[in-house]
Symmetry: C2
């Protein structure tokens, strides 16, 4: 039996669209994910699911730190493509993009982002194609208080965006 992907049921779930960045002190990178969510409240912890082929994942494994950025609804497609459809191994995703350095050393991306959420990894869960990082939130900053978050439904239905390679679902 071919492995089912159960897409009809699973695509009724609601997701946002986020950038996740990390740095090992020398190299920095960032990628697009659709799974970033608070999993517990006291202390605040956030979980992200990152494809095992991603270069950013290797930086998170080295540094134990990452930052998450909810994207704004008006994010241009080319901006998403820059972070979601290219690899940070051979391409400098930050060239000509406004950025700085967060309190935990992760790159801060200052365009088309609503907030930064910095975290320190406290648990790493191995999944078949992805790694689930659970991080304790150490600092947040609102970058655009009035911006509306980009949802995955808006990206697919209005922007007609394709699923980035390595997404958690097709």
């Amino acid at each position: 039996m071919a492995e089912e992907n159960f897409i009809d049921g699973l695509n009724k779930l609601t997701y946002g669209l986020f950038l996740v960045s990390s740095s090992d002190g020398e190299t920095k990178s960032a990628l697009v994910v659709n799974t970033a969510f608070q999993v517990t409240d006291q202390p605040a912890e956030i979980a992200i699911s990152v494809n095992k082929n991603s270069f950013t994942r290797s930086l998170i494994l080295k540094s134990g730190k990452f930052a998450v950025f909810p994207l704004e609804e008006q994010t241009p497609f080319v901006f998403i493509g820059r972070f979601g459809f290219r690899t940070g191994k051979t391409f400098n995703k930050f060239e000509n993009i406004q950025n700085s350095v967060g309190k935990n050393g992760s790159p801060l991306i200052l365009e088309h982002t609503l907030a930064s959420i910095e975290a320190t990894v406290c648990q790493t869960v191995d999944l078949p194609t992805h790694t689930l990082f659970i991080g304790q939130v150490t600092h947040t900053q609102v970058l655009n208080p009035d911006g509306k978050p980009l949802t995955y439904a808006y990206y697919q239905n209005v922007l007609k965006g394709k699923t980035p390679p390595g997404a958690t679902h097709p």
Copy 2:
């Protein structure tokens, strides 16, 4: 220093609103969660974060099975309240609610739901206030193909809903 909840940054994340059900063969229950998301693709796995005080959590721990139901945008507030603000320990949440039994034994809730996603627990991650269950998806069924999913933002901003006790964030 008082523990920060970082709410200004964290409330820029996008969530849906879901029911999660389970049964130990004798007793059945369900609750409302805002964290349910596919975390890996081959095989399809879904993660849910469930408060440790929840009765449904004890049924998932016993049975190793659960089902997730994305709610439709038009879900009446009283329906959400029934599942989100009362405990299944002493209250039969299913009375006068259309329901049946899923392939994995979890209750199927057939009102105001867009799909059912049944899963078998393959990893359990202990978090401070919640348990993160990661389940392999075993069956899905679309219950309302044209319905629009209820988002947490819509629940808060349009329905003016309160945060259910035991949510992952305030």
